[in-house]
Subunit: 254 residues, 2 copies
DNA sequence: GCTCGAAATATTGTATACATTTATTAATAA
DNA sequence: TTATTAATAAATGTATACAATATTTCGAGC
């Protein structure tokens, strides 16, 4: 019985459960922006008691998905389009700084092997003529790994933390951007460009070209902004809808 | 009785109390870096129950002063010198971006009035031949206000949040730097340089000179780094001591 | 019919009891 | 004496009861 509860980290299991479920609810649009999040509702839906619920609420608030209400408790935070651009921009800035620092350290061939593997795996996907949904989501995962590795190469815990925090916002997620479900064809072209930049950054790191590494990494985030813009103009209706589940759109990679 | 508890925000009073006390304990060096922070100890010292204590621990962990332990609970986070430089650097980067955005908006005369007042008040202090401790700490407060106003002028909630988070680290605090208690004379010269940069940024904002605003704001953080370096080399002993209360040094402004 | 107010409800903040896990200590054997 | 292990102690994670506050609803008065 207690053996069954040992899946994953047995420590703070209830809190984690509540946290994941709540985040999912927000991202899925079950909770609309601006709406209060009563603890008892979460107790009913998650089956855990109020204490871990409260811990999860605090965590999500720090993540930026919730904001404290003046009368106590939390409400789902609303993001407008400008804030999304800002978040992507800040991420780009921080990743640019990380790339610069990483390049300045002149990482060894061995240190870059993970990143090279990552780029190689993404190449294998991008080269294909057409992409399935599975391949697309594989690319998303690899892309997140790429960005994570890149930032890690800067060897700065402060920078890593800062990036992780800004990337906790779903629309600013590491190399993630919003794309309409039907736009897979367009997305493929974006992937090619994105991949070219990934490769350029890798080259710059290996060469110790810190300025180039920074500028390409910085530019890389503009791709995400452009994609956000494309998605925003293409289907303005569902996004602006009541400021509601503006995060509901399918998340994909760059 | 309940009337007396209404000092300040009656909401979450116990949590706030615990949070402030715990932060003070960390900054004062009552708790050494790497040390566990048992909840019961805080219960005894603060007089509040475990629930608000836990909330405070979570908050402080998000602030970066604590880090979760693998076996549960939290330990006081240790920072080495490199991380301090990093934090100041990241703050400078973000403030630079904020200054650029603020200047690009071409803020009106009225929008800049608070900032001008702030600079004026700091001028009045810096112009004096010698500084008392009170005047020095007045400058610290004004300086923090200046930085806060500057970032606010960018009108970006994302950027503001990011700066607030990095500045939550005491040694990266808005324009705050570490200075030896005895070095007030040296500090005065630093204040003059700092004030010159404050004025330059203000000018750049008024003129809409975004590039200049950014570069000066960026450079401004180098002053903080230099001061940290000076304090570090001047008295290496107490800071390196066991990685202990490295934050114990008196905090002052730039 | 509408507004203002009071009771009722709901929700949060706090305290505490319980269970499980981790750390410490004591004891025993090699 | 040292290492290993069992037992004790401590600390965290969780659940729930209680108190104070905010919100909603229902009704009275204009």
């Amino acid at each position: 019985m207690t053996r069954l509860m040992r899946n994953g980290d047995p420590r703070a299991a209830q809190t984690l459960k509540a946290q994941l479920r709540l985040r999912q609810m927000i991202l899925d649009g079950e909770l609309c922006a601006g709406e209060r999040v009563p603890e008892l509702m979460l107790v009913k839906r998650t089956g855990v008691s109020r204490t871990p619920i409260r811990a999860a609420l605090l965590r999500l608030a720090e993540e930026g998905l919730l904001e404290p209400s003046s009368s106590g408790g939390f409400v789902v935070r609303a993001f407008d389009e400008a804030e999304m651009y800002d978040a992507i921009d800040v991420r780009g800035m921080l990743e640019g700084a990380a790339a610069r620092r990483a390049a300045r350290r002149r990482p060894s061939h061995a240190e870059l092997s993970d990143l090279r593997d990552c780029v190689g795996a993404m190449d294998a996907i991008v080269k294909r003529r057409s992409l399935s949904v599975e391949q697309f989501s594989d690319f998303v995962r690899l892309n997140e790994r790429y960005h994570s590795l890149l930032v890690g190469l800067a060897r700065s815990s402060v920078l890593t933390r800062a990036v992780e925090r800004i990337a906790a916002l779903p629309f600013a997620s590491p190399g993630a951007f919003v794309v309409a479900q039907s736009a897979l064809a367009d997305a493929h072209q974006t992937l090619i460009t994105s991949q070219e930049q990934h490769r350029a950054i890798l080259e710059a790191l290996a060469a110790g070209a810190s300025a180039r590494a920074e500028s390409v990494a910085r530019e890389h985030s503009n791709l995400a902004k452009r994609n956000l813009h494309a998605a925003a103009t293409r289907e303005a209706a569902p996004r602006k809808a009541a400021g509601g589940n503006l995060i509901r759109l399918q998340l994909a990679a760059v």
